[in-house]
């Protein structure tokens, strides 16, 4: 295979310029980034409305479409498929094009596929609201939305892999390992889970195991993988140093793929005891690759963290994602066992990974990418809005994470005692924690709005500057 590739000198001679690379990225990446941010706003608003019903059950009562059982899955699926995966595709395409020094293949085709992805997510969210949800965590989209979703993904991933194959920079940088792994991992877990749950319909207990396995892999390998790809690209870049200790990154990458898929089945109860036991062990083991990867990033930035934080908005997001990844890994390893099953504790993990670890990394990356693809400047037009977006997102994720985590621990304590005042302590007693969650979703909505406004200013300036010449 390597024999057919051009030599490094030839590659450099034929490599497109950065401007050409970015021109090819412009349409699909900006479209995916904008749609992703719009879905972030939609998703957190839906999640906010759902969270109000947790302590105020009469809120919006009487309409089946907006009951908690439909709003919450609709919100989480909108955030996962609409925001997270869609932004991940934007970042993956951009990283492949930039790091591979290659123009995107079929930018128009990618844009059309992304359009269909958005249509499928819209149909899926309305399907959930209409009551067609499948009932499996993170897989609630009905089959009529899941199949087009998979088809659009196949197109996007295929063109991304074709672009990667045509790269002129043959050496794969660390970020591209994670991008490649996540791009190949996602269709595997999605097709396996959809096939087993919706087509062949495995019996009872196995369904819970399959759905739990899919949900964990989506979060732990795919979304955290994309987040790490972004971190490994932007941390060395913003501190302007080479990546320190790549051996750690390599060990962390392979160990994460090996161990990550086994985690987080500890929250399932009605399964044989060995499944939560092994999964709880994996929860602890996965600390090793995560810490190895984070140490590699830390050593890269060491000594320049405060300085870079002040001057670079993107780095701030990266630092937030770095801290949250460490936090969510330790939190799940220590408390994610039998004690907290059936509580909000597990809900917190989904939100922290989707909105925090991945969300902050993606928003930070988009704050770097969007101005380059629109105005050609290094920063988005409004520094204030960028700051607002960062702080609102960080505080929002922390509020949601802390609110759900503490509500979950409190419920677990009630469940573990023989106290019969379940309603008083575990339901109405968690209301204050859940109000914090609502505030957090509100902050996240502000963050998404600030980013979208900044995006709109940049797009407007771009149009004014070049009168549409860039398109």
């Amino acid at each position: 295979m390597t024999a057919a590739q051009p030599s490094s000198q030839n590659a450099c001679a034929t490599a497109p310029s950065v401007a050409e690379v970015e021109a090819s990225c412009r349409l699909p990446v900006l479209f995916l980034a904008f749609s992703g941010a719009a879905w972030l706003l939609t998703g957190v608003v839906l999640a906010l409305l759902a969270s109000v019903q947790l302590y105020n059950p009469t809120f919006m009562e009487g309409c089946a479409w907006v009951t908690y059982g439909r709003l919450r899955p609709a919100a989480i699926n909108a955030l996962t498929y609409g925001f997270a995966l869609q932004s991940a595709f934007a970042l993956a395409l951009w990283l492949i094009a930039r790091l591979g020094r290659v123009e995107l293949s079929a930018p128009l085709g990618l844009t059309i596929a992304a359009k269909f992805w958005n249509i499928a997510v819209t149909v899926g969210v309305f399907g959930i609201l209409a009551g067609d949800a499948t009932g499996f965590d993170l897989l609630e989209f009905p089959l009529y939305a899941a199949l087009p979703l998979f088809a659009s993904y196949a197109c996007i991933a295929a063109w991304a892999l074709v672009t990667l194959h045509r790269r002129t920079e043959r050496e794969l940088y660390v970020s591209l390992w994670f991008v490649l792994a996540a791009l190949l991992w996602f269709p595997w877990i999605l097709s396996t889970a959809q096939g087993l749950l919706l087509v062949w319909q495995v019996p009872g207990v196995v369904q819970a195991i399959v759905a739990g396995w899919f949900g964990n892999n989506l979060l732990q390998i795919v979304l955290i993988g994309f987040a790490l790809a972004v971190l490994f690209y932007f941390v060395p870049k913003t501190v302007n140093r080479p990546l320190a200790n790549p051996g750690l990154a390599r060990a962390g990458f392979w160990l994460l793929l090996l161990i990550g898929g086994w985690c987080e089945l500890a929250q399932l109860a009605p399964v044989p005891a060995w499944i939560p036991a092994v999964s709880g062990a994996a929860n602890a083991l996965v600390i090793v690759p995560v810490v190895a990867l984070l140490v590699s990033l830390w050593q890269t930035a060491e000594g320049k963290i405060g300085e870079t934080c002040k001057e670079n908005a993107t780095f701030r997001f990266m630092l937030g994602a770095w801290i949250l990844l460490l936090g969510v890994t330790l939190r799940t390893a220590i408390f994610g066992g039998h004690f907290t099953q059936f509580t909000f504790f597990d809900t917190a993990r989904t939100d922290i990974v989707v909105l925090g670890v991945f969300g902050l990394a993606a928003l930070g990356a988009l704050h770097h990418i969007v101005p380059r693809l629109t105005t050609g400047e290094d920063e988005l037009p409004s520094e204030g809005l960028a700051d607002l977006s960062f702080w609102a997102a960080l505080l929002g994720v922390i509020a949601v994470g802390i609110g759900f985590t503490f509500a979950g621990v409190k419920q677990a304590a009630v469940g573990a005692s023989t106290n019969d005042k379940f309603l008083e302590f575990a339901v109405t007693g968690t209301a204050n924690h859940l109000k914090l969650v609502t505030v957090g979703y509100g902050a996240l909505a502000v963050s998404a709005l600030a980013f979208l406004a900044n995006f709109a200013f940049a797009a407007r300036r771009c149009c004014l500057n070049c009168c549409g010449g860039a398109r």
Binding site: V235, K237, P246, G247, G252, V288
Partner: protein, 203 residues
């Protein structure tokens, strides 16, 4: 590696991140080993020995069937106690026609709605020619068990004999109270054996 490109790149075309030389640390693998040891302990202690029927962390065997009804327990005890009877009546309950020992399986003396006759036979035995399934047996060898067996044991054995589906019997279970009532009512007989004609009057 992209350093050798010296094209007049625009100012904003910043360089891509590169990888520092060297690197590679052993500590992740050492840490992995340490954590792995703890994980083995965790799985050993809470993994239910990888059995598909163990759902409770910390258990290694499936939980006992605590909710077994008392008559089933009585039947199981009776199955063990029947060993004392099996010498003559055989484990299959068919008796030994050659030795004039009548069968218990399918016997109309056993397989009745009420256990009264059976309990009386176990307590005091029966003598004289007895007709079971149209075959007449005459063997005085059976001994009274009034003083040898307690009410509980007799009830268990009677439950097993009457309810043994393998023998084709499906009569209801017997309680120690029923045995005690008959034992008290027939106290005066001592160890005297029943006559067949007397028993036939009993339902």
């Amino acid at each position: 590696m992209s350093k050798n490109k010296k094209q007049p790149a625009p100012e904003r075309a910043e360089t891509e991140p590169t990888i520092a030389a060297g690197g590679g640390s052993a500590w992740p693998f050492v840490l992995l080993g340490v954590v792995l040891f703890g994980c083995f302990l965790h799985v050993e202690n809470t993994g239910g020995a990888f059995r598909a029927d163990v759902f409770q962390a910390g258990m290694k065997n499936s939980p006992p069937q605590a909710d077994e009804p008392p008559e089933v327990k009585s039947y199981k005890r009776g199955a063990r106690l029947y060993d004392a009877c099996a010498g003559c009546h055989q484990p299959n309950g068919l008796g030994q026609p050659a030795q004039n020992i009548p069968p218990l399986a399918g016997s109309e003396w056993v397989f009745r709605e009420k256990p009264d006759r059976l309990i009386r036979i176990i307590l005091n035995a029966v003598e004289g020619p007895i007709t079971v399934n149209k075959v007449t047996y005459d063997n005085p060898a059976m001994t009274p068990f009034r003083d040898a067996l307690s009410d509980d044991v007799i009830a268990d054995i009677a439950t097993f004999i009457r309810g043994n589906a393998g023998w084709g019997n499906s009569a209801g279970f017997v309680t120690p109270d029923q045995v005690k009532a008959i034992r008290d009512a027939t106290e005066k007989m001592g160890t005297q054996k029943w006559r067949v004609e007397t028993l036939q009057a009993i339902d």
